[in-house]
């Protein structure tokens, strides 16, 4: 190949480049004679890559590839103009994966508490649903999980204005409600729930709180400094130091492996599975054992003797006995 640009474009596959150029051509045609800078900004492409793709395009067309069938590309200073061959006038349709990604993101964005539920996003979605997706509007729903919009608003204000927030939080691990002061760094939704990552003044460290466990949040007047470097991580990760328990689950208890972050699931020959869980709180684990009954049994506890295993089982029995008390009153 005598034409330039080969070095940079070689990192993309031929089909990646084809997909991109098939989207770029119709836009240039419709715009008339945009500058190459405009095209590059809009399609996130380097000038040299664009030049290489458009150069190659001039040799593309249907048989017998005379001037009539080829794409005609001309540069006037920093402007580019294209007279396209057949089948290069309209972009390719969205693939199913692209379509569902757009629908999911647009629907999710419009149910984020506090977002505008009419407006340009809704109009865009309606146009796409009728003209491109064929009337799928009511067939796809996105629910982002419960969160009190007042609590969410307060947390977002705290993040944006770097103000302390006082939260009333229920801790599953401790089975305890407490009021804490936090420096909220990021509010986000993943794994089906809203979370806030924050510096917690009670725990004196970075913590992740589930928004649906925050009963109330109050934005305070005082402000905090956000550390320059922050690794907020994506989801919840159990502490590497927490003891691990290998728990044998009957098939009906398979939800445990899907619900709690874990170090791995091993299917067993007898249709049970063994999941390795981090036990950061004895109360939480004892309650899980009560819920599982005979469907979940401790297989072993990492780095601990049988004593520890017996202790965890005793805690579960104690928890069950405490609940029973309530039914015998």
């Amino acid at each position: 190949m005598a034409r330039g640009g080969g070095d940079i474009v070689s990192r993309l596959t031929a089909s990646d480049r084809a997909a991109r150029v098939l989207a770029i051509i119709p836009w240039i045609v419709e715009r008339g004679a945009p500058t190459t800078g405009e095209v590059c900004g809009r399609f996130g492409i380097a000038e040299s890559e664009l030049r290489a793709d458009l150069d190659a395009l001039q040799y593309v067309g249907t048989y017998p590839r005379t001037m009539a069938e080829l794409n005609e590309v001309s540069f006037h200073g920093d402007q580019v103009e294209i007279i396209p061959g057949p089948y290069f006038r309209r972009p390719l349709n969205l693939t199913p994966a692209q379509a569902i990604s757009v629908i999911a993101a647009a629907k999710a964005a419009s149910v984020i508490p506090g977002s505008d539920s009419s407006g340009p996003l809704q109009r865009a979605l309606t146009k796409l649903e009728t003209k491109v997706f064929g009337g799928t509007g009511s067939m796809i729903e996105v629910e982002l999980g419960a969160a009190d919009s007042l609590v969410l608003d307060s947390l977002r204000t705290g993040v944006d204005e770097r103000r302390h927030v006082e939260i009333d939080y229920y801790s599953f691990h401790r089975d305890h409600r407490s009021t804490r002061r936090i420096d909220p760094y990021r509010v986000s939704h993943h794994d089906g729930s809203w979370n806030v990552v924050a510096y917690c003044h009670s725990a004196k460290g970075l913590r992740r709180f589930r928004v649906d466990r925050i009963a109330a949040a109050k934005v305070l007047d005082s402000t905090f400094d956000r550390p320059a470097k922050l690794d907020l991580g994506a989801g919840y990760q159990p502490s590497p130091d927490a003891p691990r328990v290998r728990l044998r689950l009957e098939p009906v208890a398979a939800w445990v492996a899907e619900t709690f972050p874990n170090d791995g699931v091993e299917p067993q020959d007898d249709s049970s599975t063994i999941v390795t869980l981090a036990v950061e709180s004895d109360i939480w684990f004892a309650r899980l054992l009560v819920r599982l009954g005979a469907n979940g049994r401790i297989d072993s506890v990492s780095g601990a003797d049988d004593e520890r295993e017996a202790e965890l089982r005793r805690l579960a029995a104690d928890e069950a006995a405490a609940i029973l008390e309530r039914y015998r009153r």
Binding site: M1, R42, A105, H189
Partner: protein, 309 residues
């Protein structure tokens, strides 16, 4: 020698334009780039690879037997109509709103970028922000979506069993995608979690059934996921004041009645009692299953078994 990028676009244009399916010899002769292959076998391999590349762009090359020339000969074509984007006529403001939505909600960076390019590129090249929500692009979701969109049947294996389902609707909730549909073997409506589908779902021909007039029901509370013919019982539980918010988020406002002392009476329909028992026990000593008596007795027996185990 024309590079692969040019050859791929040449093949795309040729197969889009042709009305009759093109025999392989014609493809070799007409498509710019294949003349570089002197040997038929190496051309053939290049053509097969190029078809795979087109498939990765979402384009299926159709194969037909053709009735001229040698018997058994095959012809190739792309159904142009299926692969051209209808113009959604988005205004710049609407395109910008879509770009913002795709930045705020992370589904798949790659699919989002590909989709935006086709819809007109980035309206705000400078836009840069952290996403606030993540939704998984679950494996097989594209096929399930395609079936829902085209009223097609889906064939897949679910928990080891083969299923044939008329795909009605999709819903994202609690971190997972769910498909509602009509299970043809069981002759009943069913809800499936897409990430629990064992294999790649197979999409049948479009317009295989009338889409239902009523919106699909997604009953996702675990205690309502009993078999379709399971008996439905009304169950009540009492939740202590400090834990009412948590219960409210799980069952919704309508199922909750707050008393004078701040505790709440929760009333729900249950078709799968074990899941409801597990839900009540998740509150530890802060909740009590009140009725019906058989569920209460079952829970007491369950706790006694844990105490003595």
């Amino acid at each position: 020698m024309a590079d692969k990028f040019e050859r791929l676009l040449n093949l795309f244009a040729e197969l889009m334009e042709t009305r009759r399916p093109l025999p392989i010899e014609d493809i070799r002769r007409r498509v710019g780039g294949y003349e570089d292959y002197e040997n038929f076998q190496s051309f053939r391999r290049a053509f097969e690879r190029d078809k795979d590349e087109l498939r990765s762009l979402g384009i299926d090359v159709e194969v037909f037997p053709i009735d001229f020339g040698e018997p058994g000969q095959l012809g190739y074509r792309i159904k142009a109509h299926d692969y051209v984007l209808p113009d959604p006529e988005l205004t710049p403001e609407e395109l910008a709103a879509l770009q913002l939505a795709l930045a705020l909600v992370e589904v798949s960076d790659e699919e989002a970028a590909g989709a935006l390019n086709k819809l007109g590129g980035l309206e705000n090249p400078e836009l840069s922000l952290n996403s606030v929500a993540e939704l998984p692009l679950t494996k097989g979701l594209d096929a399930v979506y395609q079936a829902v969109r085209t009223s097609a049947e889906l064939a897949f294996t679910y928990r080891g069993e083969p299923r044939r389902v008329q795909a009605h609707a999709l819903r994202f909730e609690s971190g997972h995608w769910y498909l509602a549909g009509f299970d043809l073997a069981r002759d009943a409506g069913r809800v499936f979690r897409v990430d629990r589908i064992d294999d790649e779902p197979e999409v049948g021909p479009p317009h295989s059934f009338e889409p239902p007039a009523e919106p699909s029901r997604f009953e996702l509370e675990p205690w309502r996921l009993g078999a379709a013919d399971a008996e439905l019982v009304i169950a009540t539980m009492l939740v202590d004041p400090d834990h009412v918010d948590r219960a409210r988020l799980a069952v919704g406002d309508d199922a909750i009645e707050v008393g004078d002392d701040g505790s709440a009476l929760v009333t729900v329909e249950v078709s799968h009692p074990p899941a409801f028992r597990s839900f009540v026990l998740d509150f530890g000593v802060h909740a009590e299953l009140l009725s019906p008596p058989e569920l209460r007795e079952d829970l007491i027996a369950w706790l006694e078994a844990v105490v003595t185990s």
